[in-house]
């Protein structure tokens, strides 16, 4: 059987994402990448924690942050994590259409999250004159939260590209690992956000 052949219920393996050597390599390599991403974000968190009180006369975390918008963003991203789990569930049952549909929902939720973040940054810049250049706190804040936002933006493009590219192909052993790895990436983005809303926003409100 060729990896590009459309899977049927007779040929569907239990783990289509790991049924080929290429799939196994993608799976392993992607987890190694996530280990590296952990270090990247940890260094940004370390920088932020060290510099968050160096406001250079500008607004402090307590003056800046508003919990309702952070809460809304958190709910959006958390729910998008669940919808991508639903997509992988349908992949394992060879429900290709449903998988694509849940991924579209994931992309929409992720886009809404990104929209909120852009609004939030714009608000800080226009109302508080809080920019990446205004203080060490500003630099650390925008680098950490912005790097996460850039990951979200990249994830949106990645998953959208997968949805479009494979729309007419159906599920194969060639594209199943691609879908699986993209969903791992999306969950990882959510993992990072859990620490951002806790360490940056909630701890920023506690002072």
């Amino acid at each position: 059987m060729q990896a590009e052949e459309r899977l049927t219920l007779e040929t569907l393996p239990a783990d289509p994402e790991k049924a080929t050597l290429e799939g196994k390599n993608k799976f392993l390599g992607f987890w190694l990448f996530l280990g590296g991403e952990t270090v990247l974000f940890a260094s940004l968190f370390g920088t932020y924690l060290a510099l968050k009180n160096s406001t250079n006369g500008g607004p402090t975390t307590q003056e800046l942050f508003e919990l309702p918008i952070v809460f809304a963003a958190t709910m959006l991203l958390l729910t998008s994590s669940l919808t991508s789990v639903y997509a992988m569930y349908h992949m394992k049952n060879l429900k290709f259409k449903q998988m694509q549909l849940w991924l579209i929902v994931t992309v929409l939720l992720g886009a809404a999250f990104l929209g909120l973040e852009i609004y939030e940054f714009h608000h800080y810049v226009t109302h508080f004159k809080h920019t990446i250049k205004s203080s060490a706190f500003g630099s650390a804040f925008y680098t950490l939260v912005g790097t996460h936002g850039a990951h979200v933006a990249f994830g949106l493009l990645w998953i959208s590209a997968l949805i479009l590219r494979n729309a007419k192909r159906g599920l194969t052993l060639y594209n199943a690992p691609k879908y699986y790895v993209a969903s791992l990436y999306w969950h990882f983005i959510d993992v990072v956000w859990v620490f951002i809303f806790t360490v940056v926003y909630l701890m920023g409100m506690v002072g």
């Binding site: 049924a19 280990g35 940890a42 260094s43 920088t47 958390l78 990882f188 859990v194 806790t198 506690v206």
Partner: protein
């Protein structure tokens, strides 16, 4: 083993069994999602009503909630509880160890 599976046609029983198992898995995912929402709510409430808790208690408390939530995310949503995740666990924990040291170093540098 998994690489040989596509060669053998699945029987109806096998597919049926797997479908049940996947549904069982999905149930666990939804439960862990509910727990994650619950943990998030507690963290936000603990901060929104600061008079309920001492800040010295709130900070370690919400960090603990975040760690628990991330464990759910890793082991259920990212399937680390499934078989064949020994190497991913090694990669991830190595990353966490280096990351932890990095954060510790940065904070010590500032506080010294």
């Amino acid at each position: 083993m998994a690489s040989k599976q596509p060669e053998i046609a699945n029987s109806k029983v096998n597919i049926e069994y797997r479908r049940k198992k996947n549904a069982e898995d999905m149930k666990h995912q939804v439960i862990s999602f509910a727990l994650m929402i619950f943990l998030t709510l507690i963290a936000f409430l603990a901060v929104m009503y600061p008079k309920t808790f001492d800040p010295l208690f709130t900070v370690p408390f919400i960090i603990l909630l975040a760690v628990v939530q991330v464990i759910f995310q890793l082991y259920y949503f990212m399937h680390m509880s499934h078989k064949g995740h020994e190497a991913p666990a090694l990669f991830l924990y190595a990353g966490i160890a280096v990351g932890f040291l990095t954060i510790l170093t940065f904070m010590l540098l500032m506080w010294w």
